[in-house]
C-alpha cells in the first residue's frame, strides 16, 4: 500500500501539471526548485493528497518538509496514517 504513494503523486503531477517525465523525477527533488509546481499548484496537490490518502492536512503541516518532494510526501502520509 505505501509503495504506491510516490507513484500516485507522480501520476497526478504528470496529468495535472503537465510535468513531462514525471516518472523520472528523483525522489528527493524539490518541486519548488525545479519549478514543477507553483503556489496555487501546491493547493491542488494538497487537495489531491487529502482525497487519495484519506488524510486531512492542517495549516501548520503545509510546509515544504511535508510536501516539497516525493520522499517528503511519502514520509508525511505514512506518519499521518500511523498517527490516525
Amino acid at each position: 500500500m505505501t509503495v504506491g504513494i510516490k507513484e500516485k503523486v507522480r501520476q497526478f503531477m504528470s496529468e495535472n501539471f503537465m510535468v513531462a517525465g514525471a516518472a523520472d523525477i528523483p525522489d528527493e527533488a524539490s518541486f519548488m526548485d525545479r519549478h514543477l509546481i507553483d503556489s496555487t499548484g501546491f493547493l491542488e496537490l494538497i487537495a489531491f493528497i487529502e482525497r487519495s490518502f484519506d488524510i486531512s492536512v492542517t495549516d501548520s503541516e503545509m510546509i515544504p518538509e511535508n510536501l516539497d518532494s516525493l520522499n517528503n510526501i511519502e514520509r508525511y502520509v505514512r506518519e499521518k496514517r500511523a498517527a490516525a
Binding site: M18, M32, D38, S39, T40, D59, M62, I63, P64
Partner: protein, 511 residues
C-alpha cells in the same frame, strides 16, 4: 543621480547593515555591493557595453538583486523576466530587446537553453547553480560564482546620465505580444521619491517582498528599501503561507506589501493570529482591488498596522494612494494622486473632465515611461501630447470615476486585459497559444469573476472535425506555452462562437 547611487550611498554609510535576507541567509550592503561590482567587472570584460540589455531570468534571489546592480553599475539596462516564463516568450523578449547578456539559473535550463541556442545577440550567459569544475560546453556560459569571485573591479564609474534607460520591464498588452516599458533613471528615481514621500519607509523597516522582481511592485521594494537603508526579506513565492508567516514573525517584518491573492492566502491560514506579528506597521495593496470583506479581515487581523490602498501601472510605476485617514470615509477609493504628479480624467476625445465624472485616467510626471521599446505605434496609443508644448502624458487605459472631492474609484479596463491573481493577462496572448493546439478552429478567452482570483480565465473553443480534447488537455497545452497564471481555469467546447455583424467574435455574449 542614478538608480544605483542610492544603494551605493547606503552601502558607504552602513556597510555592515543587513540589506537582504533570502533563503535563510543574510547579506550586508557591503557584500551585495562588492558582488555587484565584481559581476559588473566580469560583464565588462566579456564585452557587455553601456546601454546593453542585460536580461535577468530567475526566481527572486540574492543573485537576481546582485545582477540588477551589476548591470546598473556598468551603465547597462537591466530587464528582469518572470521565472515562470516559458521558452517561446523568453525568446520573444530576448530578441525584441536584442539582449547581449542573460543572467539565469541552472534550474531553468530547459527554458533558456533552446532560446540561447537560437539567440543571435546574447553573447554572455551567467548561470547560477551550475556545478563547479570542468569546462562549460558553451563558451558563452559563465558560472555566477566565478563571475563574482573574479578579479577585482577596475570598473570605471558608469557614464550614464539620468536620461539613460535604467531598466526595461516587459508587460502584457492586449495585442498579445509583450511590450518593453522603457524606464530611465529619472523615471525610476522620480517614482521612488514620490512613493517614499507618502509611504515613508524607514531605515529600521524590515520589508517582506514576495512579488516577483520582474514587476514594478516587487522590484521597487528592493530599490526603495535599499534607498532608505532598510532590510528586505526576499521570498520566491507564497507556496507555503505558514512558512511566510513564520518568517514574518522571526524577522519582525514591519512592512507587508501584497495583492488580494497574497492576502487571501495568508488570511486563509486558520492559525494566522497565533503568529507574533506585532512588528507589522504598514500593509499595502496594489495590482488589483481588495474586496471590502478582505480589507475588514486584514485590519482585524493586523490592528496595529496602517493600510494603504494603491493603484499604479508599469508604465509609470504608481499613480495614487489612499491616505489611511480616508479609509473609513471612502474605503473603495484609491486616492487622488501622489506627490510630484498630476492626474485627471478624460473623455473619448481627450477632453479633461470635472470631478464627478467617469473617464480614462491620464498621468503627468517625471515617472512616466520613455515609451515601449521599439514599438512606436503602441507607444503613440499611450503617450499623447500633454498640456504644454513638447511634453507627453500617459493614458492609463483604465476607466475611473471621481467623487466631488476628486477621489478616484476604479471602474474598468478600457481594453479587455484580464486581471487574475493580481497578474495582467492578455486574452489575445492566451488565444494565440490556443491556436497553436492542433485542431483548434476558433478560440475566445474571457475573464469571469472569481472570489479568490479576482478574475478567472475562461476559454471557449471550437474544434475542427475529427478532433477531441479534454479540458485538461487544453490546460496542459497552455501550461507548456504560457506562465502558469495564464492557463485557463475553465474550458468550454462549443459548436460555434457568437459573432458580430462583421464576423468578429462577440466576447460580450460569452460568459
Amino acid at each position: 543621480m542614478l538608480v544605483h547611487h542610492f544603494f551605493e550611498k547606503t552601502a558607504q554609510r552602513e556597510p555592515h547593515k543587513i540589506a537582504l535576507i533570502c533563503e535563510g541567509r543574510s547579506y550586508t550592503y557591503a557584500e551585495i555591493n562588492e558582488a555587484a561590482k565584481r559581476l559588473g567587472a566580469s560583464m565588462l570584460r566579456r564585452g557587455v557595453d553601456r546601454n546593453d540589455r542585460v536580461a535577468i531570468f530567475m526566481d527572486n534571489s540574492v543573485e537576481a538583486v546582485v545582477a540588477i546592480y551589476a548591470a546598473l553599475k556598468i551603465g547597462a539596462i537591466f530587464m528582469p523576466i518572470n521565472a515562470l516564463t516559458k521558452a517561446d516568450k523568453l525568446a520573444y523578449i530576448l530578441n525584441d530587446a536584442e539582449a547581449t547578456c542573460l543572467v539565469t539559473h541552472a534550474a531553468r535550463r530547459s527554458e533558456w537553453q533552446p532560446v540561447l541556442d537560437r539567440s543571435a545577440t546574447v553573447h554572455t550567459c551567467v548561470v547560477v547553480g551550475e556545478e563547479s569544475g570542468g569546462a562549460l560546453r558553451d563558451e558563452r556560459l559563465m558560472r555566477y560564482n566565478d563571475a563574482v569571485m573574479g578579479a577585482q573591479s577596475d570598473n570605471q564609474e558608469s557614464q550614464a546620465i539620468d536620461q539613460d534607460l535604467a531598466s526595461i520591464l516587459y508587460t502584457s498588452g492586449s495585442t498579445g505580444d509583450p511590450k518593453g516599458v522603457m524606464l530611465t533613471h529619472l523615471n525610476m528615481i522620480s517614482a521612488s521619491n514620490s512613493v517614499l514621500e507618502y509611504l515613508k519607509f524607514r531605515s529600521d523597516d524590515v520589508i517582506l517582498c514576495i512579488m516577483s522582481l520582474a514587476y514594478g511592485y516587487g522590484l521597487y521594494h528592493v530599490l526603495m528599501g535599499f534607498q532608505v537603508g532598510a532590510t528586505v526579506v526576499l521570498e520566491r513565492s507564497l507556496a507555503f503561507p505558514v512558512k511566510t508567516l513564520e518568517l514574518m514573525a522571526h524577522h519582525h517584518v514591519t512592512v507587508l506589501p501584497g495583492t488580494p491573492t497574497i492576502f487571501s492566502m495568508l488570511l486563509n491560514v486558520k492559525t494566522v493570529s497565533k503568529y507574533d506579528l506585532r512588528a507589522l506597521r504598514l500593509i499595502t495593496n496594489a495590482a488589483a482591488a481588495l474586496s471590502q470583506e478582505h480589507l475588514r479581515r486584514l485590519r482585524e487581523t493586523f490592528p496595529r498596522a496602517v493600510f494603504f490602498s494603491m493603484y499604479g501601472l508599469t508604465e509609470c510605476k504608481r499613480v495614487t494612494y489612499l491616505p489611511p485617514d480616508q479609509l473609513d470615509i471612502r474605503p473603495t477609493s484609491v486616492g487622488r494622486g501622489m506627490p510630484n504628479q498630476e492626474c485627471w480624467l478624460v473623455d473619448d476625445h481627450g477632453k479633461r473632465l470635472p470631478n464627478g465624472s467617469t473617464g480614462e485616467l491620464v498621468i503627468r510626471g517625471s515617472h512616466v515611461m520613455r515609451g515601449y521599446w521599439r514599438k512606436p505605434e503602441e507607444t503613440a496609443k499611450r503617450l499623447k501630447p500633454g498640456p504644454n508644448p513638447g511634453e507627453w502624458v500617459l493614458h492609463s487605459g483604465d476607466l475611473f470615476r471621481t467623487d466631488e472631492e476628486g477621489y478616484l474609484y476604479f471602474v474598468a479596463r478600457k481594453d479587455d486585459i484580464i486581471k487574475s491573481r493580481g497578474e495582467k493577462i492578455s486574452p489575445v496572448e492566451v488565444e494565440n497559444a490556443l491556436y497553436r493546439l492542433d485542431g483548434v478552429l476558433e478560440a475566445a478567452v474571457v475573464g469571469v469573476p472569481d472570489p479568490v482570483l479576482g478574475q478567472a480565465i475562461k476559454a471557449f473553443l471550437v474544434l475542427k472535425a475529427g478532433y477531441s480534447y479534454s479540458e485538461k488537455d487544453v490546460v496542459r497545452h497552455c501550461l507548456a506555452k504560457l506562465e502558469n497564471f495564464m492557463a485557463p481555469k475553465y474550458v468550454v467546447f462549443m459548436e460555434s462562437l457568437p459573432k458580430t455583424d462583421n464576423g468578429k467574435i462577440k466576447k460580450m455574449a460569452l460568459t
